[in-house]
Symmetry: C2
Subunit: 166 residues, 2 copies
């Protein structure tokens, strides 16, 4: 059951909002905390999912959406590739369980990325498997967008990786 | 999967340890946060567990251990009654999933009740069903005790309740 987690996460965000006046600082802190979590969570993920090594960024993005999100949050985002270079992907969430108890952001917290911990988790986990990436929220239903969209940009070009491998 | 929750909880405790110098203040803050969570979680619990009204404190304590702990933490504490008046109970945890990633408390945090959020959750949830209670850690494996023990003292005597009902 995830309700205890979702409410505890809410308490964490509320505490950080007390601690930091600026939304940007809360966002940075959530991302940094998430990074620390991802760095540790990856071992659990690899052990329990028993997935094989991904052979492309596309495969990695799909693994995050279909295996990791399903395992830890119980939802499966849609994946789309958003760059010709093949290193940018979007995870699109119709439903985001982490905001189940959040009605809307308070007016004075309009720039808060409430779920920014998730970006850090993904970034930390990817770094541990030698896939440095930038991970950010591109859209957020809490901010009035139609969907919630997490952007993942792998920092080495797909071509570079192939080259390095050969 | 609870690992993401357990690690996020760890990040919350770490943040509070940054915020407050005194362990007692961290403990109080965790308890207060937990209370706020319990007040909301009880609706989810009643809806999903479909349990009937408990007829005694003993039944309530067993419900917390066997249904609520199982549902939210995946473990089932042993329950023992520790007062002749029948209003004090202990939940004894052989295994506490919330500390899965904690090796030991740092020396300078010897008075920290790492899992104090749980006490607040139980207290908040009980208050919502008109059962005011005191909930505290009596033993903690993180502090070198043999088991982890949560004490629940219902604040109205069992006899008073029967009297009120008649």
């Amino acid at each position: 059951s995830g309700e205890l987690f979702v409410l505890t996460y809410g308490a964490l965000v509320a505490q950080l909002c007390k601690d930091y006046e600026k939304d940007e600082d809360v966002n940075t802190c959530l991302d940094r905390m998430g990074y620390g979590i991802g760095v540790r969570l990856i071992d659990d993920f690899l052990a329990r999912s028993a997935v094989k090594k991904c052979r492309s960024y596309s495969e990695t993005a799909n693994m995050i959406a279909q295996v990791a999100f399903k395992m830890y949050l119980g939802v499966t985002p849609t994946v789309s590739c958003s760059s010709a270079a093949g290193n940018e992907f979007s995870l699109i969430l119709d439903k985001n369980p982490l905001v189940d108890f959040v009605e809307e952001l308070p007016a004075e917290r309009a720039s808060l990325c409430y779920c920014n911990l998730l970006c850090g988790v993904i970034r930390g986990a990817l770094e541990m498997v030698h896939l440095p990436a930038e991970v950010t929220f591109l859209q957020d239903r809490l901010k009035g967008d139609a969907v919630t969209e997490i952007g993942i940009t792998f920092l080495r070009k797909a071509e570079d990786r192939k080259h390095r491998r050969n």
